[in-house]
């Protein structure tokens, strides 16, 4: 007994009070007697440990590379920028959702097919059932919630890899899109959806612009290019970008600031440990499957409003682009780690490269080669950053 009650605390541990001023423990001047084996970490290292650091660096490099190539003036003009931002936004909307799901330890490969299917639901309900536009969109979201729920439920109950479960959904949804559309319309496209359904409010919500007045005024001042009738080429900031930034901010808040966000990290970090402390891991996963399906439906709605038509092949390969943007953004494929701000950068890199290659006149065949290299680099950087985060590898 006596041996146990000896003073076991090493004398070099400071009293709790002395730590109070040292809120985050990252200051370099440490209280005397602190653990001398702990090397102080500089601000740069602190910053590099952030999961979005790799993506931010990658984005910066991409911006610089395209600035040095021919066609930069067009790419970085207001019009060019708005084009690649819109591309990034459309990808970013689904990539953010995919990222949350990957952080929770699961994949949803049915996102791309869901984009096509949701478009078909809007098209058929509006054009053939005569529903108002908002009604068709509501139907599409209802279908998305059901699809996400079923995907999640199967994954959670069977404990099969979500990769295989949602691969099945990928084919089922795509097949349903084509099958139903062809059975009803005899074709694989549903054109002129908006013609019989005037609903400017709903349309503006997904396909409008904000700051239109400001852009119009800038046009009248001659600051931005206008058409002959005085309307600027860029009428405002497209709603897709607003949705993208809004959802990213919301997802970022939820992930880092709320209880539910903590549960997302825990579910992907260690499923059993999370379950043992009472995290409702099944509910977390199912809700995120619903979110990815709804994000796909939002993208589908934006595309339908923009084009005025639905196409059964919409969203093809989008599931992979979403996963790629998430990985470039610093999300660990194995789950438990990542940020949505990194995914924002990932989506930006994606949009920028796609438009950059177009504007520089490089053969677009090379886009995929470039993409492959970026993915590989992203994964290597992610791996390095994760080891850094755990304080291992890379040394000082």
């Amino acid at each position: 007994m006596a041996a146990v009650e000896d003073k076991a605390i090493p004398s070099d541990i400071p009293a709790p009070g002395s730590l109070a001023s040292d809120r985050f423990g990252m200051t370099s001047k440490r209280a005397a007697g602190a653990d001398e084996r702990l090397a102080s970490t500089g601000r740069l290292t602190q910053w590099l440990r952030r999961p979005e650091a790799g993506a931010a660096g990658g984005l910066l490099a991409t911006i610089i590379i395209f600035a040095l190539l021919p066609g930069a003036a067009n790419l970085y003009s207001l019009q060019g920028s708005m084009t690649f931002l819109t591309l990034s936004a459309e990808l970013g909307i689904i990539a953010t959702a995919a990222a949350l799901l990957i952080i929770a330890g699961e994949f949803d490969l049915s996102v791309g097919s869901m984009v096509g299917f949701a478009g078909v639901v809007i098209g058929l309900t509006v054009k053939y059932w005569g529903l108002p536009l908002w009604g068709g969109i509501a139907c599409a979201f209802a279908v998305a919630i059901l699809t996400g729920y079923v995907n999640g439920l199967i994954v959670v109950k069977t404990r099969l890899p979500s990769f295989i479960v949602t691969l099945a959904s990928l084919y089922i949804l795509r097949g349903l899109s084509i099958g139903i559309t062809r059975a009803v319309t005899g074709r694989t496209q549903i054109p002129y959806i908006l013609d019989g359904a005037p609903d400017p409010g709903t349309s503006a919500l997904f396909n409008g612009h904000i700051f239109a007045g400001l852009f119009h005024w800038m046009g009248s001042q001659g600051w931005i290019a206008t058409r002959s009738d005085g309307i600027p080429f860029v009428a405002g900031i497209p709603m897709s970008i607003v949705w993208w930034l809004g959802l990213t901010a919301l997802a970022g808040y939820v992930l880092t600031q709320t209880k539910y966000g903590n549960w997302i990290f825990a579910t992907g970090g260690d499923l059993n440990a999370a379950r043992n402390v009472g995290v409702p891991v099944d509910r977390v996963k199912i809700s995120l499957f619903i979110y990815t399906a709804c994000a796909a439906t939002l993208l589908a709605t934006i595309q339908v409003m923009e084009a005025g038509s639905a196409d059964t092949t919409r969203g093809l390969l989008k599931e992979f682009e979403a996963i790629i943007a998430a990985v470039i953004g610093g999300v660990l494929l194995t789950g438990g780690y990542g940020t949505v701000y990194g995914v924002l950068f990932g989506a930006l890199i994606f949009g920028l490269v796609q438009m950059g290659i177009f504007y520089t006149g490089i053969d677009t065949d090379w886009f995929k080669v470039f993409l492959g290299i970026v993915i590989l680099m992203a994964v290597l950087v992610n791996n390095y950053i994760r080891l850094k985060a755990l304080g291992r590898g890379g040394g000082k």
Partner: protein, 277 residues
């Protein structure tokens, strides 16, 4: 040991608990009482049923037969969360820590302190950091930075976080599964000191250990498990350290093994001149 003779209820009690997995009977007819302010050591070889028993106590497994009582009232644990809500906190051998998450996030996982009860209300991070650091300081651990990932901590530090977490959330029964097995001398001593402190605060502690030098000094009561059965519960005054050692190292089995080894050695001894020549 009749119920009326006791002025206090056991903090936790198992009555006739059996657990089967298919045709395997992992536990049979286990009766155990753990009182507040008592350190109850569970002893037994590998496969004796210690792990299964811990999982029953912590709500991971439900008993096939028998009942669990907390403070004299029968309870049913549908999940580990139910057990925790009744003050039964378990530090599993793997610690249940998520290494890519921060100390604070791990500490409060599943019980995050929010500023309001709205579904997406903000976690009070600063408050959480302070509480986590204070809870760690209370058991003598200097947390450099509660926002650092648990993966960066040493085994002993992780153990401390897990114990501090279990105690902070109002545990009445603290179950520690091999808490000292991965630790150095200093850190193990600290954990033992902490067990005694927990006992003095009136907690019931269930302590599983293979190390007699850790178990005997802090234990008040010793229960021996063998092949899924309770082979007896002894107060410290009724059992000597050597007897505990004998039980823990296999007792009769060990004597048989010793005899066998002696026989083998004798054979080798007989042969050795032949090898030498």
């Amino acid at each position: 040991m009749s119920q009326s003779a006791q002025t206090i209820h056991p903090a936790m009690e198992l009555r006739g608990v059996s657990v089967s997995f298919g045709s395997v009977r992992a536990l049979q007819d286990i009766d155990i009482k753990v009182y507040p302010g008592e350190v109850h050591c569970l002893l037994g070889d590998n496969g004796a049923g210690k792990s299964t028993l811990i999982k029953v106590l912590s709500g991971v497994h439900r008993p096939t037969k028998g009942e669990i009582l907390v403070d004299g009232k029968p309870v049913v644990f549908r999940s580990p969360r139910d057990a925790q809500d009744l003050g039964v906190a378990t530090v599993f051998q793997d610690l249940g820590m998520i290494s890519l998450m921060s100390i604070t996030r791990n500490f409060f996982l599943g019980r995050e302190p929010t500023r309001s009860s709205l579904p997406f209300s903000r976690i009070d991070k600063e408050g959480a950091n302070n509480i986590a650091r204070q809870a760690m300081a209370d058991i003598g651990i200097d947390v450099r930075d509660p926002t650092q990932a648990v993966g960066t901590l040493s085994g002993g530090e992780r153990q401390s976080v897990a114990i501090a977490r279990a105690v902070h959330f109002g545990a009445r029964v603290l179950i520690l599964d091999e808490p000292t097995s991965a630790l150095g001398v200093h850190q193990a001593a600290m954990v033992l000191k902490f067990i005694i402190e927990a006992r003095m605060r009136g907690l019931a502690v269930i302590f599983i250990s293979h190390n007699i030098h850790h178990a005997y000094p802090v234990g008040d009561t010793f229960t021996l498990l063998n092949r899924g059965r309770n082979r007896g519960t002894y107060a410290k005054s009724d059992i000597s350290r050597d007897e505990v050692i004998s039980i823990m190292s296999g007792g009769e089995d060990l004597k048989a093994v010793e005899a066998e080894i002696a026989g083998l050695l004798a054979q080798i001894g007989n042969r050795s001149p032949a090898i030498a020549s």
